[in-house]
């Protein structure tokens, strides 16, 4: 797929492996939007195509009900107000704090049909790879590259190598795309995908719905991949049809014909091929301070685990991961906070309650997801079970909005990073699927969701 999208977008060859690549969609957020737009203005540069440049307030917005521009993050309000005025001045499309379409960038972009198969889409956010689930070439860049894309409509890109990761067969019941991607990173390392676009393939991938595919692609960045991508198919087209920025009428038909040609041809040669037996994957939980430091729920902290992560996480080598007492549980983030994630989590919560002493939060991935969940009574299931039900935003994935759990807390989280201090000073993060998070919240200890479901 990379070759087809690359060739479609290549404006000129540059030196070495680099090419000037046309960028179809740019998506900013308030954490760096003001900096990028302000820097452009100072240099006397304009946004080349405002109609294809978007921005959303997601990263540091308060998620408490009744929120305003004020944030718990010191100085956060300026990020919101300055991004707002810069976005308006530049004439780009802004989804503001109280906009009904507001949400985490990689949740709302597909909801609105902004990402499309075969398109190039960039954002100054490392989880932009999430959107590769739509067969788009979508990747994260820094603020300066975002300026370059806005000012020229292009990026100067070194052509990546290609890797295909095939999940063959089917996962066992209770095993999710979150577990699949953690298994890949645990086996092949946090640097395993470096320099490659990783194409996910196999029956266990094509049988995933779009939200499941997004979870899988989301953590391609934790694999050091340039990005992740999954071939667009009927499920993709059905998801996108009728969405606000998706094509309609004659253009829809034209687009479909184009999109159907994008999948990798049979017999395509990839620089690297990895195969994983899906049936062998268990629910996964991280034990350490890198996503590669993850094990199956039935496993232990490795006997050769390093001193530093053990000390930070307060664990011993050989200690079982199941049964670790937790202080908090978080459901949220661009990895796992879409409607299907919340439905599955709510199903496990029904008739049960969070264990005493456990702080539990659910932050829906977008305001649309929140509304849809409320229409189905999912919010009530969460609240009755002892979860806080919040407004949408990136929230406690990264100590955003200045909100965190108590220092030293052991947190089980549906997010994507368990780095030292990621969720707050001395916070001990264990990343897992939403099902595992909920099962653990109920038990008050890290638990196997397959046992809760029984």
């Amino acid at each position: 797929m990379l070759s087809k999208i690359w060739d479609q977008h290549r404006i000129a060859d540059l030196t070495g492996d680099a090419a000037l690549i046309a960028i179809d969609r740019i998506f900013l957020h308030e954490r760096t939007g003001a900096a990028a737009l302000g820097s452009m203005k100072a240099a006397g540069r304009e946004v080349t195509d405002p109609a294809r440049t978007f921005c959303v307030m997601d990263h540091i917005v308060d998620t408490r009900p009744g929120r305003s521009d004020q944030t718990l993050m010191p100085g956060g309000q300026a990020f919101i107000t300055e991004t707002r005025s810069a976005a308006r001045e530049a004439g780009i499309t802004l989804f503001d704090v109280s906009d009904p379409d507001q949400g985490i960038v990689h949740v709302i972009s597909p909801e609105l049909g902004i990402v499309l198969p075969g398109a190039t889409l960039i954002a100054p956010d490392s989880h932009t790879c999430t959107q590769g689930a739509f067969g788009a070439l979508a990747w994260g860049i820094g603020s300066s590259e975002a300026e370059h894309a806005m000012a020229t409509g292009t990026l100067r890109v070194a052509r990546p190598k290609t890797m295909r990761v095939t999940f063959s067969g089917a996962v066992a019941p209770g095993v999710t795309p979150k577990d699949m991607i953690l298994a890949l990173i645990a086996r092949h390392g946090a640097g395993g995908g470096r320099g490659h676009v990783v194409e996910f393939a196999g029956e266990a991938v094509s049988s995933l719905d779009m939200e499941g595919r997004m979870t899988l692609c989301n953590m391609a960045t934790e694999f050091a991949a340039m990005t992740g991508i999954i071939a667009a198919d009927q499920a993709t087209f059905e998801y996108l049809e009728g969405r606000r920025y998706a094509p309609r009428g004659g253009e829809w038909e034209m687009a479909l014909a184009h999109w159907r040609e994008l999948a990798s041809d049979p017999g395509s040669i990839f620089d690297v091929e990895i195969e994983i037996e899906a049936a062998g994957i268990e629910p996964m939980v991280s034990w350490g301070t890198s996503p590669e430091q993850s094990v199956g729920i039935g496993d232990t902290v490795p006997p050769d685990a390093g001193e530093r992560p053990l000390a930070y996480m307060g664990l011993e080598p050989g200690q079982p991961i199941r049964g670790l007492a937790i202080d908090a549980a978080f459901i949220g983030s661009c990895t796992n906070s879409r409607l299907s994630d919340l439905r599955r989590a709510a199903a496990l919560l029904k008739g049960r309650h969070v264990a005493p002493g456990v702080t539990a939060l659910c932050v829906p991935g977008s305001t649309s997801v929140k509304r849809a969940a409320e229409a189905e009574g999912i919010d009530k299931l969460f609240v009755d079970a002892g979860f806080q039900w919040r407004e949408s935003g990136c929230s406690m994935c990264f100590y955003a909005g200045g909100e965190s759990f108590a220092p030293g807390s052991r947190v089980i989280s549906s997010t994507n990073r368990n780095f030292e201090g990621r969720q707050g000073p001395n916070i001990r993060t264990h990343i897992a699927s939403p099902e595992t998070v909920v099962a653990s919240a109920i038990a008050g200890r890290i638990a196997d969701p397959r046992e809760t479901a029984l």
């Binding site: 404006i11 046309a22 540069r45 993050m73 201090g421």
Partner: protein
Amino acid sequence: MPITRLVGIAAPLLRDNIDTDAIIPSREITKTGKTGLAAGLFAGWRYKSPVSREPDPDFVLNRPAYRDAQILLGGANFGCGSSREHAVWALAESGIRSVVAPSFAPIFFGNCVRNGILPVVLPAEAVAEIAESVSADPAGTPLEIDLPRQLLSLPDGRSWSFPLDEEPRTMLIEGLDAIDVTLKRKSEIAAFHRRDVAARPWIYLGKSA
């Protein structure tokens, strides 16, 4: 600012997977600009507690011998995690002009190039050897990095070649602004869009059907 030759004290921080949350914790980014970040550099490691700001004397950059370090020696997958360019801005503001590591996360690598910080890829064994050599006497064992020749050397003459693709190499050596360079191709870009709007009209929003 063009880079040709750097000579500077190197500070070893040989941990793998040093992520950008470690380089600049989110709570340290309190202003919208690109400056005012030096105090937040490695804040979680540099200070005994985030509130007290009391320097931890054991952290490498707090040690007097490394206070004027201009080169950082790191572990594999340096700069992984969040794309926040603040990580690079904080390093630059703190006087770091090059990072030497066995591998870099892709977004961080690109951010370095855009900000005139030279990312040098050397095998882990080489970085370890260099770290051992400099740590005995950091000020007396400055590293010399020759970008045009792609050579990193110690004062005793030991040297290592490092790779760098032509595109970032040229940008760094000549101190070019990537946007200015690209805008020289305005007519090619326009020609592409004329063809593309006919081939993929659905991409072009805001234009009448």
